[in-house]
Amino acid sequence: MTANAPDPFAVPGSVWSRVSPRLATLRRVEMLCAAMLLVVLLVVLAVMVPSTRPVVAVAVGALLVVSAYGWWLTGRQVAAWGWVERDSDLVVTRGRVWRRLDVVPYGRMQLVDVTAGPLQRAFGVTTVMLHTASPSTRARVPGLPPEDARRLRDRLAERGEAQAAGL
């Protein structure tokens, strides 16, 4: 979206909070590790079976192109994540080509998950995920610094309690 084309899905009176760019770094590292592994396997193959060398060369080339594209795409994808805390609901947006927006009322939240795997912890990015009684609800905010994630979870849980009654 360019600066002069207004976002058709803007939340009136709010701006999107964006996720940490470190999420992009993490995803790029993950992607490059996978690509490296494939390259190593291909090189081993080329060394052991000389007749496959032309194919391997093409494959490695393709892998480089794909990785470069993935590098660029990851940046755009991570930049597209955003969320807004409204008075009574949380709005999450993701994706650029396939855009998806989720609106989850605080009163509907069944639980809020905060997860971070070992790699995520090393990069300081944490995911906050909301669950409702519907399995289709897919409201997830990835790439938050752990402290922000905890604070967001506490805020959400607090508002959820204040706005829900009973079960």
């Binding site: 009574s88 855009r99 927006l101 509907r108 289709s136 009973g166």
Partner: protein, 440 residues
């Protein structure tokens, strides 16, 4: 602590006896003599009988003031406590063999973790009495513990309790066997399969190549099976209005009863397969909180509000189930520029939203489907969350798809290819209502 009925081992063991008989019968049919060594057969049967008897002996239950205790297990003892204020539904089921002996099993569903406990078997009268007792206690407990409209699960138990206590009121709909059978046959799936098989058969006869004929038998069997299972599970379908909701009773071999508390209905969908539309028939399905999550045949029945009914009557009953006025919701079609994306359903796709009078729920209605048309109706205050999606083509055209999320069940409200700003406005508005009503 009470024990289950002494006939339980027999009813359970009956399955083994049937299995042995079937196996023996198959061997006889295939021409071979049944040459199993008698001692082994006797030993197996005796061991199974002993196991069944021991299981019966070690299984005990007790309805306490706030919990139901079930103790079971021969080698590993298991003690289960079910909090009665968590009980969402109690179902009385009668499998075929149990029905012969006027026995029944009791299925207890709880909120939250969705665990289910089964008491099998007790006499039918006992099962019904236990159901009333459990629901009554659950109702009392929840009456003490909390109130408010949003506490749907608790209200559900309460309404079931009242229904159990006050009894059935008025029969709303009864499906006749003939109509049921015909309607199952002319559903889109079976019909397309039959037409396909007929076409294949005709072609192979004309061409003189017998290969196409080989398709006919499996197709016929599949269709027969689908029609038969639809017929059997919905046979004698009766929908009644009770004190605080609806109740369903159906089944040819296994009779099942299911209560649908109105305040736990999350949405209804009116389904019209191709031929049904011509005949003016429709099927009504409901999503009820905590019930529709099972995807097997039982889930199918518990989701069915009306197996087949004239359209107008169906709509009226659906309105009844929702306690909302859906007839007055004006539907708007998709923008003209969206026709490229949905050439076949361009006149079908529609969405409407009623504001909802103060106190009234207000609903969102969506319509879609080419061969089988479906109209989903969702009360705004039951929506769990909203999603708007936009693909690259939709973005070019300024369109977006709106989805309203509900607990698992047949109702799927989807507004395909709406104007993007309309979809987004609707999503925000519906979420606000849903959040506001959760607060009450």
């Amino acid at each position: 602590m009470r024990r289950l009925h002494p006939l339980t081992p027999l009813l359970r063991g009956g399955i083994i006896a049937v299995a042995i008989t079937v196996a023996a019968g198959r061997q006889l049919l295939e021409g071979g003599p049944v040459d199993w060594p008698l001692p082994i057969v006797v030993a197996v049967v005796a061991a199974a009988a002993a196991w069944a008897a021991l299981t019966w002996w070690t299984t005990r239950y007790q309805v306490g003031s706030d919990t139901l205790r079930i103790e079971s297990g021969i080698v590993v003892r298991r003690s289960r406590r079910i909090r009665l204020d968590r009980v969402q539904a109690v179902e009385v089921q009668q499998p075929l063999l149990a029905r012969v002996f006027r026995m029944a099993e009791l299925q207890i569903e709880t909120a939250g973790d969705g665990t289910e406990a089964t008491l099998a078997y007790v006499t039918l009268a006992q099962a019904q009495q236990l159901r009333v007792e459990l629901l009554a206690r659950a109702g009392q407990l929840s009456g003490r513990a909390g109130q408010g409209r949003a506490a749907t699960a608790r209200e559900g138990t309460e309404s079931q309790h009242q229904e159990a206590a006050e009894g059935v009121h008025e029969v709303l709909h009864r499906a006749t066997p003939g109509l049921l059978l015909v309607s199952q046959l002319v559903r889109t799936g079976p019909l397309v399969a039959l037409l396909g098989a007929a076409a294949a058969a005709t072609i192979s006869v004309v061409v003189g190549e017998p290969l196409g004929l080989a398709l006919v038998l499996p197709a016929a069997l599949a269709v027969g099976n689908a029609v038969w299972s639809g017929f059997v599970s919905h046979y004698g379908f009766t929908l009644t209005r009770t004190a605080r909701g609806l109740a369903v009773r159906a089944g040819l071999l296994d009779v099942r009863t299911q209560s649908i508390p109105t305040d736990r209905v999350q949405g209804v969908v009116v389904v019209e397969p191709m031929v049904w539309r011509r005949l003016g028939w429709c099927e009504g399905l409901v999503t009820v909180a905590g019930v529709g999550s099972r995807s097997d045949d039982t889930g199918r029945l518990s989701a069915t509000l009306l197996p087949v009914v004239e359209r107008d009557r169906g709509a009226r009953i659906a309105i009844d189930a929702l306690a909302g006025d859906i007839a007055s919701v004006p539907l708007t079609g998709i923008p003209h520029r969206a026709m490229v994306l949905a050439p076949l359903t361009r006149r079908v796709l529609a969405l409407g939203m009623s504001a909802g009078a103060p106190g009234g729920p207000g609903v969102v209605v969506t319509r879609r489907g080419w061969l089988t048309r479906r109209t989903d109706v969702v009360p705004r205050h039951k929506v769990q969350s909203c999603a708007v999606r936009q693909g690259p083509l939709q973005r070019r055209l300024g369109l977006a798809t709106l989805r309203l999320h509900l607990p698992p069940g047949p109702v799927q409200a989807v507004g395909l290819h709406r104007d993007q700003s309309e979809a987004w406005r609707t999503a925000l508005t519906v979420a606000t209502t849903a959040g506001a009503s959760a607060r009450v």
